[in-house]
Amino acid sequence: MTRRIALAILFSAWAVVLVALVVIYFATRHTMVAELDESIIMRASALPQLVGVSQENSSAVLPPGDRYMIRNELGQVIARPQGRLSSRASPSVINRKFVSLADGGRLRSITLNLSLRASEDQPEQLATIVYSAPANALDNLLKRMTILLCAVGLGGGLLIGAVAWHVSRAALRPLRQTADVIGTIDERKLDRRVEATALPSELRPMAERLNEMLARLEREFAQRKQFLADTAHELRTPVAAILTHLEVTLRRPREAAALADALRTSLSDVQLLRRLVDALLEQVRSDRPMAAAQTTRIDVSALLEQCATLADALASVKNVQIVRKFPSGLRAYAQPVALQSIVTNLLANAVEYSHADGSVELTCRLAGGQLELSVKDNGPGISPDVLPHIFQPFYRADGSHGSSDGHLGLGLFLIQSHAKSMGGRCEVQSTIGAGSIFRVELPALPPASGNSATINEEDAGAASDVIESSRVAMET
């Protein structure tokens, strides 16, 4: 880039300089030749008087190297014109040219017509004079000027080149400095920003976009870091419980019943851990861009019916009715694994928080290319200070930590994670004492072409796990 800008400046500026030098050369040459011509014409005009007066060999009185030839009207060469220059007529130049001599020198030769009269009473007669003067002085001067101008052209080129290089480097320095700053940024230094105000105005939008991107990445990384820290905490507590329980139990000889009890307790903790790991894996899977490749045209109604049947088993324990409010044969583009996880999680949640003998409504419709799902319960509702936090991972409304009650605190987080990865959204409305409605909107159109071609074996495998993963979600 620097070289390209420098070369562009160099060639354009140098071309201007060279053209200027050529113009100077020709203008100077023209002026010098004109001066010489004028001097030659003066000398030629003075010739009649000169040679007329002098009776001797005329060449003796001419400047050295000058020579001439005079012809009369008839074209005869005459040695000496008779008369003096007519006062009325001025000499008219017929021809001017350079004549090369055998010895390498050059002459400037001018042919002009003069009207002469011998005396006042005699008629005018025309004479043609060819007057030549050596052009050595002019040639030398022009030669020297050519050398000088060539030197100026070359030196100017070098100078322009240096300046152009410097200017282009200076112009690109902010870009380089920006690149240096960007080069230092890694996942631990995402709080760094490019100095947009120091950049030329053309580069500022780029720097601002870059800073916006960094801010987004910083937020995203902070969220992930928090999620990871929370996950570590959630995994450590059951592990600590298992470890301590087994260590304390093994410290002394125990009866078979006590040992069996220790094993049972540890087993239930391990099962909790397994569910936690499954849920975390599901979350990680929903985050992958490849998940989009799973989008296919499916019978949404059949899938919802399947989810509702799974939830019926859970609901029957509390005598809760799951009311299906969706048309049959509803077909749309969706990701079956993620959609099933969303619906089963929402239903399990609703059943859990429903009053005994209550009902849970599952509705679904297709509108404007969007799949609109809702799950409504008539439970106690969610208080307004808890509501903004319920989609946070591991959040528990009662302020407790850890999963000692068997709840992972990941269900709603997973739902939102799935919805987001499909380009949709999930929101909740809740009234204390009346219940809550969770609404999920998902795009129901085929994915952009090109994506659909990238299905790989792993994802195909994941799609066949629909029932398996939704069973995990039910427990979550």
């Binding site: 450590r236 592990v239 600590a240 419980a241 301590t244 260590e247 410290r251 009662d398 930590h401 000692s404």
Partner: protein
Amino acid sequence: MKLLVAEDHAKLARSIATGLREEGYSVDLTFDGTEAAHLLASNQYDCVILDIMLPGKEGWAVLDETRQRGNRAPVLCLTARDAPEDRVRGLDLGADDYLIKPFDWDELLARVRALIRRAHGQASVVIRIGDLEINTLSKTVRRGSSAITLSAREYALLHYLALRAGQVVSRTDVWEHLYDQEEELSSNVVDVYIGYLRSKIDKPFDVKLIHTRRGHGYMLAAAGGNES
């Protein structure tokens, strides 16, 4: 020695309490921060095992409140968060030690022993009073060249008296430090156990180590002082 275990994960808390009781400590157990603060305000504990993420009141708040009240009971913070800033915060708020979940059971026991020792200005695991030698690690007692066998309760009482050797220890102190809320004991249990200890430690020997201060309590000391 009486310990408080405040941990909201019920299974973990019960395991810790069981393990500690089997080591001869009396243990109060709570799953809630508010109750932990309340117990700390009304009891004298020799060591507190405090989870940071407690419902009701966070461990930080419990710790801060306890130290503000001038309670100097050694506190071992138990947490699944291992970020350095969490440790620094805990130690700055007056925690004496820090243990990350999951932990090694032997390490927890060693740290509890060390905290109790340090709180009583005791650097070594072996306490010597005259020719009486108490090894707090192996829980064995010798006097001169003869080994003395003690029951768990007798050992606990001797250990407590030894930690406060040279000081008069009231019956209430003994009661407070040796028996937890789950036990129902008669009011003269302290005197009964002092009697047992005397018969094993002092009776066979000329120099008596356990002294009674009428109206005040008991004292374990090499030089008798004013016996009454």
